[in-house]
Symmetry: C2
Subunit: 325 residues, 2 copies
Amino acid sequence: MIRLGIMGHGNLGRGVEAAVKHNPDMQLVAIFTRRDVESVKPLTPGVKVYKAEDAAKHADEIDVLILCGGSATDLPVQTPEYIKYFNVVDSFDTHANIPVHFDNVDKAGKKSGKLGLISCGWDPGMFSLARVYGEAILPGASTYTFWGKGVSQGHSDAIRRIEGVADARQYTVPVPSALEAVRSGSTPVLSTREKHTRECYVVAKEGADKAKIEKEIKEMPNYFADYETIVHFVSEEEVSKMQQKLSHGGFVIRSGNTTDENGHILELSLKLDSNPEFTGSVLTAYGRAVARLAKEGKTGVVTVFDIPIKYLSPISEEDLRKNLL
Amino acid sequence: MIRLGIMGHGNLGRGVEAAVKHNPDMQLVAIFTRRDVESVKPLTPGVKVYKAEDAAKHADEIDVLILCGGSATDLPVQTPEYIKYFNVVDSFDTHANIPVHFDNVDKAGKKSGKLGLISCGWDPGMFSLARVYGEAILPGASTYTFWGKGVSQGHSDAIRRIEGVADARQYTVPVPSALEAVRSGSTPVLSTREKHTRECYVVAKEGADKAKIEKEIKEMPNYFADYETIVHFVSEEEVSKMQQKLSHGGFVIRSGNTTDENGHILELSLKLDSNPEFTGSVLTAYGRAVARLAKEGKTGVVTVFDIPIKYLSPISEEDLRKNLL
């Protein structure tokens, strides 16, 4: 039985909790929170809730700690910190800062003798695997990643941290004409801006400077600066009505030729009713892989690129080959 | 530079040859054939063609030998034989016999100190990865694999080996209503027969017993016995006109819920102008992985489930994380 802990009980933490229920070889042991412990209502009967600051005291009870904070400010601090005590999994998704995060987590893990998997989920994660696979199988072809339509939690979170913002919801939307061109097998050159728009629905605090908020969003590096970004100021009621479900999706397409005559199109697509529940499921499966790799003595940091797929599955290697190969 | 050899210069062997041209870190050193050496016309200037029976003499010149024979009778013999001298990759695709083939190749490889990757290609291969991934990420959901419409070379080959058959072409065709049901997000229970039909276009030799041929096809275990199989007897001219391109494709769909409210659909799809060229590309990328793993001292047998994706790519680990994660 693999004993899991969850750090942070927001949407993603609850997604991990829901996923653990589907995995009979895993057990949720503890939830850690920075909020009032009494305010956290676990979905799992009997699971303990502790203060985040007391986490290290429970290191011996937990095989893998799934970190469910945000990439903007939580994970850059939390992952190198908690790997001092735990094997960890995070969903760090600020693409431009992955190399620095990788090094920080690697150093801390090598020192503590623990293992950390960073940047796991569906993108980065599943989609990253599809990109590398496509590049390796069809060298010289073109890869296209499209996201949406869906709420990006990381981007919504980033907007919420801006001074004067009460709430925000950010939708990523593929540009239909770009999508059609790629799926037809033609290989257009498309900039990031040409593939997606980012629509932001923002609730400003009373008296806040809306022009300043809009400027800060549109100029935010990594998150918005490279995109066609549209900012709508709306009421709290409108935002909460907009979408109860945090649905999302996207696809990775690799398109290119092996010879002059013959072209090929690979596509991985996801249609997700709940981004945090699906991401939680991915983190949980990789939690199994991290528990196993740590048991084999692996320390430091890994990404999805380093992990043979058999480590994700509770099925024996023999049965995988017999039934799924 | 990774030095490759090709055993067998049929459609698949030529597909591997075409793929090597796209991979600057690889070099095609030799083609081995059971046919008359003079009859083989390599696409690659300067590449040597040798008799298959002389292969072992060239063991020191080759890092990985890609076996391009058929699964019905070639590979069960060839893979355990050639792993005595070479690291090897094969595309063995008789699903039911994979466990036995695995054991045979493993024993021979452990003895010789060489490494063999079996059952590589798009199915088994890429689709197998998608199935395991789907099972691990969404436990309790349903997986559907559809193939086609396309020519199955293994199945065409199997028909051609029947006494009295001059030529044959076998098309696998998804049943449209089954496909629609799955893509809608419903999770019907579908037998193999309900998902596909197998259409066989057969050229009988003069005086052959057509009824006997048809019966042998329809009752062939693993290949046809479990399917709705339709046999058409046609002329040689009709078969050769039917399709110059060996196009194929298919998809793996995983569909299921994380909670009562929220469902998710993962789909991997392939649209291939040339099945052997694409399969050749997959074998070539995995040839790189086998060369690297063998260099690290790995021996015996592996499948796609055992290989971290980074081994497939010529890109450095740092650049993979920086640019593709």
